[in-house]
Symmetry: C2
Subunit: 351 residues, 2 copies
Amino acid sequence: MGSWKDNIRKINPYVPGEQPDFPDMIKLNTNENPYPPSPEVRKILDAYPESLLRLYPDPNSAKLVEAIASYNKLRNDQVFVGVGSDDVLAIAFMTFFHSDKPILFPDITYSFYDVWAELFRIPYEQIPLDEHFEIVRSDYYKENGGVVIANPNAPTGICQSIEALEDIIVHNQNVVVILDEAYIDFSNMSARKLIDRYENVLIVQTYSKSRSLAGMRIGHAMGNPELIAAMNDVRFSFNSYPMTRLSVEIGAAAIRDTEYFEKIRRKVIETREWTKKELKRLGFLFGDSMANFIFARHEKVAAQTIFDKLREKHIFVRHFSSPRIENYLRISIGTEQEMKTLIREMERIIQ
Amino acid sequence: MGSWKDNIRKINPYVPGEQPDFPDMIKLNTNENPYPPSPEVRKILDAYPESLLRLYPDPNSAKLVEAIASYNKLRNDQVFVGVGSDDVLAIAFMTFFHSDKPILFPDITYSFYDVWAELFRIPYEQIPLDEHFEIVRSDYYKENGGVVIANPNAPTGICQSIEALEDIIVHNQNVVVILDEAYIDFSNMSARKLIDRYENVLIVQTYSKSRSLAGMRIGHAMGNPELIAAMNDVRFSFNSYPMTRLSVEIGAAAIRDTEYFEKIRRKVIETREWTKKELKRLGFLFGDSMANFIFARHEKVAAQTIFDKLREKHIFVRHFSSPRIENYLRISIGTEQEMKTLIREMERIIQ
């Protein structure tokens, strides 16, 4: 007779970035937006009748789906919503990668992809990026069970051209290709139009970065109605009411406030470009990030040293210990003031 | 060469109760609480700084875990929280039923259990309840991959004694036994104390019923720290930030307001007992429900007839088409006034 412990699924879980909590800290380690969400969010919180919270949410989150569809010029049946893009991606992996052939994604990319593959027992192959952290297209021409590409890539911030993505899609017409656009609003390079042309392409985006709503857990996928329906079938087999009533209301209000959205994403982009110039001046090396972070190493000083010294000053950035990137730091873009403080501390550290 | 459609996971999803939306309706079909949540919830909504929503939530939902642990006199490492008890149960199935032997649960019970088993490819066997919808203990003495019992059972409302549950647990020491106590607060029969004695028992509860927070998606599991840690490993491999910041704050505030909680759950229980007497008077037959619903059939009139006629009056109850229960209605307990209206309509229908 065995033990109940024998039937437990053993897992090496994803390790999220630490969430330090000091009043004076500068938190540049989890790619959050330094600006508050749309002022419409306050109005929702003030006006929402708490008595409605006794009722289940709409299982289809129709109000939020409609707002996202309208913003992206899609029909409602082309949009799937979930509890952050992690939830959306997990469900997409479970839904579409039901094959014995390995799915393909870069060796350096969002570190959740291999965790989901392990969890759902999906075979996978991590394809090395080239020495500039660029994708080598022809590596994706072989037989596989699916393809996942983060664009801009995490943690490098590097964007592939639409033409490069389309080339990979053309060579992978018999599997689902997922484009993870978590950071796309900090570029102008969304592959949104490709879902009109290719029925096997799923684009995933999030409210956690450009919309300043990481705390409300909202993400969505866009693709042809057959893809979306298959995801909803899996969703409804897992948890039929995933989104809180407040997430639906707040998400719908936030996506409609395009003016505020444009204002804060431009500010983040401007601050990123300013930070690039300053980091370059200080001897940092990095690719051309199109995200709300910069992935950089210093020509002389080790990443671990910089990380530790910033930490002493309660400035938190992200340092990964994986091979090929252990000498890099991923620095989220904060407010202008925060980045000025960062650069000032960096100057002291590297001199 | 195959099609991308070949790799899609085909699923028969769980079908949630319909969510009709008429201003004058009496909604007794999804076992929601007729009373609003604790007044503390309004205070949270008014006071919560919306700017904090730009930040990720605490991945451990520590504030909520602490409040639940404190209420249940447990340590924090004995509590797991999720996006409603559906999310908690789904993760428990994925974590603990990693065996080739079938898991066991009743033929008439929460209709999500077989959906999760199918989704995660867990073999399962549905054990018939007896003719009074009671569990036959000895049916659970055989070898299996795990046991799941809803207590009170859904949709029957019938409660097993702690002694009966303990007997089943004693006979199943080498697998995890899940007790789904979604409706337990409407009884006085929680098996909470069994987790102190049996390390293989997991108790799952929800905020959606007795706490009037179905719209905020909060559920939890309680068990020995090894069970909880294994669930967290799976959780963090799926979605590392499942709970919104507002769910954590609202949940913690609601569970601390024990006075309000006691008041509304007693009201629901009183109204249930009044409704039982009235239904009996009208010729309905039902077991002794310990939940916030009554599962009843009429001695003469077919369930479908009653269902349709109530519906015409915008009174919504639940009717299942499954064998053995197709002549029953599941009627959630509403306010006194709502139940008086229901009984008045029932009188007209059955005469």
